[in-house]
Symmetry: C2
Subunit: 200 residues, 2 copies
């Protein structure tokens, strides 16, 4: 997605070989026209999957989920985060290790809002270690929902998230796939592909 690539290159800040700040347009300050296009891209990619519901985790997935759900014409659900491990009968719950916050949080979804057999599209802003998405997949499995795919805005392909999700047989659609961030430079997976083609 060209506009997203442009934003990443122009406004993203590579803080280390693993940390990319995109808080000027994606997950603190947000550019709505970009998010609208992201939602339309996800909706277009999964429009033939009879999606019943879109799901994400609070907070930075919420606008992505809304834009996607609006374009698909279905509701969305965001899993809530809390610390208190008070197991409740009426929620599905999963423990997620957050490296950013260096703590384990519980993510919960009310059982009322996930039904067995529902076709659910998972979306999130960034796929890095994949822990939050794996927690969502555990919740969706517990509910007996049918996961049609995962849409992520930015995938850091060099981290372990992709492998974890693929081992669950969930198709991944990244709108920007970052191969590496060495020396402060973002290299997209497509660029690498193009380079190798040029060399052949």
């Amino acid at each position: 997605m060209q506009r997203l690539h442009d934003y990443i290159l122009q406004d993203g800040r590579v803080l280390s070989s693993h940390v990319l700040k995109v808080d000027s347009f994606l997950n603190h300050q947000v550019q709505p026209a970009l998010i609208q296009e992201i939602g339309q891209q996800f909706a277009q990619a999964f429009h033939d999957k009879d999606v019943d519901k879109v799901i994400t985790v609070e907070a930075s997935g919420i606008h992505i989920a809304y834009a996607t759900a609006l374009a698909l014409g279905v509701p969305f659900v965001y899993a809530k985060k809390k610390r208190a491990v008070t197991q409740s009968d009426d929620v599905y719950q999963a423990s997620v290790m957050s490296y950013t916050r260096n703590e384990t949080v519980e993510i919960t979804v009310s059982k009322s809002f996930l039904l067995a057999g529902e076709k659910v599209l998972v979306v999130d802003d960034i796929l890095a270690n994949g822990n939050a998405v794996v927690g969502l997949l555990d919740i969706l499995d517990a509910a007996g929902a049918d996961v049609v795919g995962l849409g992520v805005v930015i995938e850091k392909r060099f981290q372990e998230g992709r492998a974890k999700i693929q081992s669950r047989n969930v198709p991944i659609l990244p709108l920007a796939s970052i191969e590496s961030m060495e020396d402060g430079r973002v290299v997209f997976a497509k660029e690498l592909a193009a380079e190798s083609e040029t060399k052949e």
Copy 2:
């Protein structure tokens, strides 16, 4: 806003005279077409205020802020919540007592994303005790921003939020204003007004 009133009456659950659950359409499971209309209503109400930016607090204000910002054609910012009180030089910060969670959280906004003189519209899902919004107003004052108003989806008029915001000279636009929730029944402020008119 008729559609919102209908959702509250049909799908809202009055758990006590002070607690209204709207998690089936507004702040856990979300109905996107409703949110889109909410955003359009706020945008229309404040379209002549030259709004530069919309601001809210994570998590349940994010989709409201996005819908409003998209309709206005401006960026939005969501304040982040964290527990660790690690004061940082590059963020504006305010302490907010959360009655729902029974704890004090720090809300923060990066200084890069709030500039002196910017005209900012504050939005949120529910105005009850008003603590989160007051925290945002403190942050906006610290930044030297110009607050053009507060748009709230649902106002519980019998709690202290309205008075706190009005004492800051910020105009409030609620799309649904609840006068009372005694005996499990939601009474909108408009209904009361209509009743008193009828009696005259």
